[in-house]
């Protein structure tokens, strides 16, 4: 039984926030740039939507496009963000200031980590991809991704304990 491929707008509604967050974390929480990059990624995905196999999951496919697009963006523009807008994305609970402070710190540490570690951690814990999907996006073995995530967590912990 051949599944009918859903409309692209359906996928957009489902993944627009994840892609936006992915860019936001990767470009230093520059909201406007993240929106532009999100828009560009979805347009690029729409152009290639005919090549997308409907039997396969959409999430790894759109994240692969986003990643490649981000790499191209890095090549063309210097990273200028200094995480000045991180605070704007943190939850505004006055009674949980400690937690807020800790999240801000974690975000800054992650932002300062190596690109590979940061990417794996964000994909795994922020965007919520499983190891297999991350392996598909990064075009690596699932075991390698698992190891990489473990090592990245260790590094993050070490950085947090410093």
């Amino acid at each position: 039984m051949i599944k009918k491929k859903p409309n692209f707008v359906f996928y957009y509604n489902q993944f627009k926030d994840k892609i936006y967050a992915y860019f936001l974390y990767r470009i230093g929480f520059d909201r406007k740039l993240a929106e532009d990059l999100t828009s560009e990624v979805f347009l690029k995905a729409l152009k290639k939507f005919d090549d997308f196999d409907g039997d396969k999951p959409f999430q790894p496919w759109i994240f692969t496009i986003s990643r490649n697009h981000l790499i191209n963006h890095y090549k063309s523009a210097k990273r200028e963000t200094a995480l000045t807008e991180v605070e704007n994305f943190l939850p505004c609970h006055d009674n949980r200031a400690e937690e807020r402070y800790e999240l801000e710190r974690v975000m800054k540490i992650i932002d300062g980590m190596e690109e590979g570690d940061r990417e794996v951690l964000l994909l795994r814990y922020v965007q919520g991809l499983d190891n297999g999907e991350i392996a598909a996006v990064l075009e690596k073995e699932e075991g390698a991704i698992r190891t990489r995530i473990s090592r990245s967590l260790t590094k993050l912990r070490e950085l947090l304990n410093e």
Partner: protein, 430 residues
């Protein structure tokens, strides 16, 4: 481990910012715009591909048409494609189309004639094949086909004949008949060849069939010949009607019909007679002048005034009248003006004179005589003058004859060259 679990929890609790509504709508708008444009582009692509499909299908159709038409032309033009050939049905279908395309009767006649010849050619081809067949069954089958073809040929020639009969224009009908007669001769040759083959094969049924077909062909040829004769008679009747003269003898009308394109010799004769008559006219002119002088002298003596208009034009200017004479009538004969003058004279003359037989006096060509008729009406002296100058009464009657039939009588004599000599004899008598 606890630290690791706490760290994972912390990471999972990291803020997951959502796209702003305005930004989301903006992106959606862009996406929809692109979708619409891409669909439009796809539609245009479809139309382009549709055109390509149309072109390819058109090309395929053209190939089919070319192949089909090539095969059809081959089948149509090849006389060796006879009954039993795989393309024979195609050939007959083409012929049906051609028969339907022939709209006019001459075309129909020619088309059916052509089909008839074709059937006989096919029959001849079959008879040649029959000679090479070893088995009697095959020979019998081929013989049946040949007879069938001959029957069809006869049917076609019958259709052609009926088409010819429906042609209203007699000239066209004659032309078509001539063509058909020539082609019929070819068909009879085919039939003779088929008959020879049948005789060799000892196929009596086929021999009988060929005889029957030849009889039919010859019958049509005869009927066409008869039709031509009938046409000539019809022409004569038409000419009679045109002239409106029931008294006109058939001989004159025959001459006119003979003058029609078919007969060249009479016209040549006419030309030679014309030359002779011109010479005679030249000779007669002098005499005419003298006679006209005599007439005037008589008038002056008797005090009779004659208008110049009443004097026949020939007498005044014979050369002019000769030039204005109608083509049908011999050139030496009086012109239309002269004939009118003669008629007026005829009305003015006594009935006894008009009742004189036309053939009594053979000198019919002399144009001078009618002038003498006018003075004759007035007194008995004129009758004496008539007797003294016998030219006048004779010419009067003769001129009328010319207008009516005297010319043709003279024309008949002209054929023998008697007419001129008659005129000379008359003058001699005078």
């Amino acid at each position: 481990m606890n630290n690791m679990k706490n760290l994972e929890k912390i990471l999972e609790n990291l803020p997951k910012p959502k796209l702003r509504l305005a930004a989301g709508l903006k992106i959606k708008f862009k996406l929809y715009g692109f979708i619409i444009l891409s669909k439009a582009a796809r539609l245009s692509d479809f139309s382009v591909s549709g055109k390509l499909n149309f072109r390819s299908s058109l090309a395929a159709a053209l190939v089919v048409i070319i192949v089909f038409s090539g095969t059809s032309i081959y089948a149509y033009a090849n006389n060796e494609i006879a009954p039993g050939h795989s393309l024979y049905a195609l050939k007959r279908a083409m012929e049906k189309v051609e028969a339907q395309a022939a709209l006019t009767n001459p075309l129909k006649a020619k088309t059916f004639q052509k089909f008839s010849a074709r059937r006989l050619e096919e029959a001849l081809h079959l008879s040649q094949r029959q000679a090479t067949d070893d088995q009697d069954e095959q020979k019998a089958m081929v013989s049946g086909e040949i007879r069938k073809n001959i029957d069809e040929a006869i049917a076609n020639i019958t259709s052609a004949a009926s088409a010819v009969n429906e042609i209203k224009d007699s000239a066209k009908a004659d032309a078509v008949k001539n063509e058909m007669k020539e082609k019929d001769n070819f068909e009879i040759k085919y039939l003779n060849q088929i008959a020879d083959g049948a005789a060799l094969n000892k196929d009596e049924a086929l021999v009988d069939k060929v005889k029957e077909a030849k009889g039919a062909m010859e019958k049509y040829q005869k009927t066409w010949n008869n039709d031509r004769e009938d046409d000539q008679e019809n022409k004569i009747e038409k000419i009679r009607e045109k002239e409106g003269s029931k008294d006109a003898p058939a001989d004159n009308i025959k001459q006119e019909s003979i003058r029609a394109p078919e007969s060249k010799k009479p016209s040549e004769k006419m030309k030679s007679s014309e030359k002779k008559q011109k010479k005679n006219q030249d000779k007669d002119e002098d005499k005419d002048k003298d006679k006209s002088k005599e007439v005037r002298e008589i008038e002056e003596v008797k005090g009779i005034k004659i208008d110049k208009n009443e004097i026949p034009a020939v007498i005044l200017k014979p050369a002019e009248t000769a030039s204005t004479s109608p083509a049908i009538v011999q050139p030496s004969q009086p012109s239309a003006v002269q004939s009118e003058a003669n008629n007026t004279q005829a009305t003015s003359t006594a009935p006894s004179q008009t009742a004189q037989p036309l053939t009594v006096q053979p000198s019919t060509e002399n144009n001078q005589q009618p002038e003498a008729a006018s003075p004759e009406n007035n007194s008995g002296e004129q009758v004496e003058q008539k007797s003294s100058t016998p030219v006048a009464p004779t010419t009067e009657t003769v001129d009328r004859d010319r207008d009516g039939d005297g010319d043709r009588n003279g024309g008949e004599r002209d054929g023998d060259g008697n007419r001129n000599t008659d005129g000379e004899r008359d003058r001699d008598n005078d």
